[in-house]
Every structure is written in structure tokens, then in C-alpha cells.
Amino acid sequence: MRVELRHLSKRWGNVVGVDNISLEVKDGEFVALLGPSGCGKTTTLLMIAGIYKPTSGEILFDGRVVNHIPPKDRNIGMVFQSYALYPHMTVFENIAYPLKLQKVPKEEQRRRVQHVADMMGIGHLLDRKPGQLSGGQQQRVALGRALVKDPKLLLFDEPLSNLDARLRLTMRGEIKRRQMELGITSIYVTHDQVEAMTMADRIAVIKDGKLQAYDTPDELYERPRTLFIAGFIGNPPMNLIKNVEVVVEGERYIARNEAFCLEVPAERGKKVVGQGKVILGIRPEDISLADDGEGVRGEVYVVEPLGRDDLVNVQLPGDTFVHFLADPALRLKPGMPVTLRFNTEKAQFFDPHTERSLLWQ
């Protein structure tokens, strides 16, 4: 099913939950709504589900305005952060609940519940109450209940945030696979950009109720259009260095501040030259140690071991700090002098006032 939001807003008095969001979800697409907590993701989802009434704007399913259709007639499956399993019902009764409300014959209910439960790997738990299940099992029941009525649209509200890291990884893959197999259009709310990046076909980045960007994970990562997206997408986050000026020296474009002078590829440099002081963005993985001693000099400030890599915070002259990823075998320690090479092929530039990218409009 195709979903379209047109200038959708939700306000409670002075509180703005969602501010003029427009976007389209294609049939079978998996879209993530990504943003920090309190930015209006849940509100958007609940409006799509029909539980909140939009203050203004329209919601369309397959081109039809559904603003006035009650939730029960929207044929939506939803998974809540809290799972919202009915505590007084067994797993079977929980999953069968949507079917019971549709007055599906008992025998068919049994068959469909069993089918979904087996698919989710919880077929042996049907007689238990939700309170007797682990978090991961509850999650599967919640997903089963959402899937049992063959919904046209699946909504997820931070479904994995209550699971431990390992289980989250498993469930992430599982949800994605089910969604692909069944081809159900899905909208997935999360504040975890890794989840959004790994699962979604497209990501809608939301901040303060406003849509910041709506694009594929690759685009958002490679061509962030605003400072917020640059800082929000990617883990560890992009280094944002202020007061950088780009000048032309003959054929070459040079980005410089008190700490460094970097050559920038011409196709990027020429868009920034003459813009005064700008913000340079560069991801930690695009900074490496310079083995030939040519590059930006600095001093190790903090080392955070991440396991596979060390996240190293380096202080450059003039109170500029940058993070980069180093091989733990190098055993970098605070206070050690280092020379860094910046891969300026991947450098981003932002206007410090409008906070928009100078490279991608």
C-alpha cells in the first residue's frame, strides 16, 4: 500500500508535536522515521494509525484520504515500544485478538495464529501469559499479533529499544527479513541511526517536528544536506570543525584554519571558496594516521577502545578537537604526538548561519 502524508501537523495548544511533514512511502517500501526523542516520531505514527487526529494536513492510503477513517478500519498492524501485550490474555489470545474482532471462524483463527506463531518461532508458547515471557519472546508475540491479520501497512514504534544489544541485532535482521518476504509497506520509528541505516530503504530525518531530510541511507551518509543530518547520521558522529576558510592558490583549493592547511578536491572546493568562515565536516573513518609524517599535527587527548577500533580524540593547535578511528595495536596513549591525514575527498562544508550544506542543495 502507498502512504502519503501531506502537510501533516499536530499541535496541542502551544505544543507542536509534528510540524508540516510531507512525504510519500512507496508500496512495499521500508521507511524509517529517525530523530532524537521528543521530535514527534510517535505522534506521526499515531496519526497514521488513526489514533491521533491531525490538526491539519492529510494522510492518504493508495491515494485516498483516510483522515476520518477510524483505526479499526485502516487495516494496520502496529508494534509498540512497550509491546502492549494484553496481560490478561495468553499468547494465543493476544495473537488471535484482531481475528476475533473480525469474527473470523474459530478454526481459521487457530490455523492462522499457529501459522504466524510458527513463523515467529513462538509456536510452543501459545498457552503462556505475556508476563511469563522474556523480552525477545514478547517482541515476537507483538510482531505476530501485528502480522496475523495480513495488514496492508506495518507500523513500528521503537520496537527494539527495550531489548539487550545482542537480541536487538538478531531481531533487527529478523524484522527486516519478514518485511522483505511479506512485502508489507512498513514505517519504522527509531532514534537509533544504526537501526535506520541498516533496515530502511529510505530514512525520514525529523527534528523538532519538522522533516529535515528524506532520502536513502547512502545519500544521507554521503551527501548530508544540513548540519543536523551530518551530525546525526553516522556512528561515531562526523567531526565538525568551525572557522575554516577555503581559498584558491593557483590551481589548488585549500581549506585552512589555525590548525591546518588541507588541499580540497576542486569540484568541492570551488563551491565553498569565497564563502568566508565555514564549517568543515569530516567523518572519523576518513581521518587516519599519516605514516610519512606529512599532515596535521596534534596530540592524543582521549582514547576510547571500541573493540575493533580505538576512537581517538586528538587535540589540534588552537583548541580544535577531532575524533578518528585507530588500530588498537598502535596503543595510542593520551599525550602522544600524532600526525593525521584527512581524506578531503569526503569532506563536507556547511554554512554556519543557515546550517545548510554548501555542496549539496
Binding site: 488513526g50 483505526p71 479499526k72 509498540f80 515500544q81 494484553y86 485478538y97 484482531p98 474482532l101 507500523l155
Partner: protein, 340 residues
């Protein structure tokens, strides 16, 4: 080796626990036990004792001065009067009373209709209504419903007497006359209606408060999930809300059964058991009438105490039935901290 020692230690703890737990339990329960003893067991025993005597205005004396104790009392200068130990004769008289079946029927009718229609029924409806409208409006509405409860009983009942007063007075008559209803003495025409309504309007607010706070504490997610699953509001109430407030429902049912069994002051003020012979006389009112208000000024405390004591027994029987049927012991869970 170490494991064995540890196992022994665990066993020792396990063995020691029952004794210690019961002592601790006793210590923690002692204030409650003291109160229950002082204000329940002692009065009930006194009641039972008095019900076994012929204590009345005519025989007035210290009820402890019966049988052999009479001489001791006289020696000590305590007034013994004509008090005699009469065994179960008050009880025989009670069960042989011509009006006993009627009073029993009245009591059951009064308790269960008020309970079903108002103290639980209306309370639930009010709680559901006030939690399904805007919060502030719901709050205001509930506050208004509390007014009768905080109005002094006499004033509250006087108001109802005015409402149901005889023609040509009566507020009800003033409203019904314009629509063509013959004015009449409503209280006399339908005494039960007013007995149940006056008690119910006050009684409903208790359940209303308990139910609405229970409903408001149901996580919003359950309701939202049910909506998405395809439930209408009525289906949500029936399949989600009611099952989730099962315990408050059972608690209010039990508690209100017992308070209705023991309540009589509104009936006393409103109909005094009438009109006519025992039309609205209930058990606790009978006990009051026998013990404290008889036509000839002869207060039959002994006989009234017998009515009172049987009511205590009825109350205990109801409590036990409720405890069993509703399985209240399932509510009492082993504290989690013990499982450490």
C-alpha cells in the same frame, strides 16, 4: 567441598526461616491485630454476651452480673438489676419472629439491588464515562458526584424528603405536574426506589473513584493497541478495561456488600422502615429498633444484640464466600525480595 558447605548453609537458612518469619510477621502485624481485637473482637464478644441475656430497660443492670456473679456484684455494690442469662432464647425468638423472613428478604433485596445498580453498576458507568471525556471535565464531574457523600446525612435525607414529599408539595411533583403526571406522595408510593437511590447516589462515588483511578492507570498503549487491532470503544471496555480492573471490581463488590449490610441510617431517616409494617425494614435497622427504639420505651438490648450478632455472622459468611469465589489469596503474592 566448598559447594557442600554452601549447600549446608543454604539449607540451614531455609530451616531457620519459618520460625523467624513468623516472629517477624507477628511483630509487623501486632498494631493491626491490636486494633482489630479492640474494635472488632471485643465488641463482637460483648455483643454475643449481651445477646445471651435478657438485658432491657426493665431489667437494667450490669450484664456481667448474671447467675453466680449476682451475689458478687451485690457485695461490690454493682447494680445487677433483673439481668438474667437466658441462653439461646433471644435467637429462638428471632428466628420465630413473624417478620423474620420479610426482613431477611428486604435486606437481601436492598443490599444486592443497591450494589448492582449503584455501588458497582453506576460506579463503573460513571468511571468509564469520566475517563473517556476530557480529563478536566471528568475530574469536575467526579467532584460533583462526591458532594452527597460530604453532605451531612440528615441534610441529605431531608433534601430527598422534600423531593419526594406529598402533594401539593414535593419538588418531584412540581416537575412532573406540568407534563401531566398526577401529584402524589412519591416516598410512600415507591419507598424502595428512594431507599435504593439515596443510598446508591452516595455509595456509587466510592466505586467511581476506585474504578476511575484503576482505569486511568491502565497503560495507554493497551488501548491504542486494541484500537489498531480493530476494537470499538465498547469492545475495548469489555475485553480490555473490565478484565484489567478485575481486582478493584471485586474489592468494591465485597467491601460495599459489607457496608450495605451494616448501613441503616439513611433508611432510618427516610422511611424508618415503613411505610406500613416493615416495608423497608432491613436487618441492621431491626437491630437498632429492638435495641434502642421501641414503641413502649422498653429497649430490648439483649434481643437487639441477637439481631446484631446474626448480622455479624452473615457478614462473615459473605466475606468468606467472596474470598473463596474471587480467590483473593491470588492477590497476595510472595514479596519479590524474599526470592533473593
Amino acid at each position: 567441598m566448598e559447594a557442600v558447605v554452601q549447600e549446608q548453609a543454604v539449607e540451614a537458612v531455609a530451616r531457620r526461616r519459618p520460625a523467624r518469619v513468623s516472629l517477624e510477621a507477628f511483630t509487623f502485624m501486632s498494631p493491626t491485630m491490636l486494633l482489630v481485637t479492640l474494635f472488632f473482637f471485643v465488641p463482637v464478644l460483648l455483643l454475643l454476651w449481651i445477646s445471651l441475656t435478657n438485658l432491657s430497660s426493665n431489667t437494667f443492670g450490669n450484664p456481667l452480673c448474671v447467675g453466680g456473679a449476682r451475689e458478687v456484684c451485690e457485695a461490690l455494690g454493682i447494680r445487677a438489676g433483673g439481668v438474667e442469662f437466658v441462653g439461646l432464647s433471644n435467637y429462638r425468638r428471632l428466628f420465630a419472629d413473624r417478620f423474620f423472613p420479610k426482613i431477611l428478604r428486604n435486606t437481601l433485596f436492598y443490599v444486592f439491588s443497591t450494589l448492582a445498580l449503584f455501588n458497582v453498576g453506576l460506579a463503573l458507568v460513571l468511571a468509564l464515562l469520566t475517563t473517556h471525556i476530557e480529563r478536566r471535565v471528568g475530574f469536575l464531574f467526579r467532584a460533583i458526584w462526591l458532594l452527597p457523600r460530604i453532605t451531612p446525612s440528615v441534610i441529605y435525607i431531608m433534601m430527598w424528603k422534600r423531593i419526594a414529599a406529598d402533594a401539593p408539595f414535593g419538588i418531584l411533583n412540581q416537575f412532573l405536574m406540568p407534563v401531566g403526571v398526577e401529584p402524589r406522595f412519591w416516598l410512600k408510593e415507591a419507598p424502595w426506589l428512594f431507599v435504593i437511590v439515596t443510598n446508591g447516589f452516595v455509595g456509587a462515588s466510592f466505586g467511581m473513584l476506585i474504578f476511575s483511578s484503576a482505569i486511568e492507570s491502565i497503560p495507554r498503549d493497551y488501548i491504542m493497541a486494541a484500537k489498531v487491532d480493530g476494537a470499538t470503544t465498547l469492545q475495548i471496555i469489555r475485553t480490555i478495561i473490565i478484565p484489567l480492573i478485575k481486582w478493584p471490581l471485586l474489592f468494591v463488590t465485597t467491601y460495599q456488600t459489607l457496608s450495605l449490610l451494616a448501613s441503616f441510617e439513611y433508611i432510618l431517616l427516610l422511611t424508618n422502615g415503613g411505610p406500613g409494617l416493615y416495608r423497608t425494614e432491613v436487618w441492621s435497622l431491626t437491630a437498632y429498633h429492638r435495641a434502642l427504639q421501641t414503641y413502649f420505651g422498653n429497649n430490648q438490648w439483649g434481643y437487639g444484640a441477637a439481631w446484631g450478632f446474626v448480622l455479624v455472622v452473615i457478614g462473615i459468611i459473605f466475606s468468606v464466600i467472596y474470598l473463596r469465589v474471587f480467590r483473593f489469596n491470588e492477590l497476595v503474592q510472595e514479596p519479590k525480595i524474599d526470592a533473593l
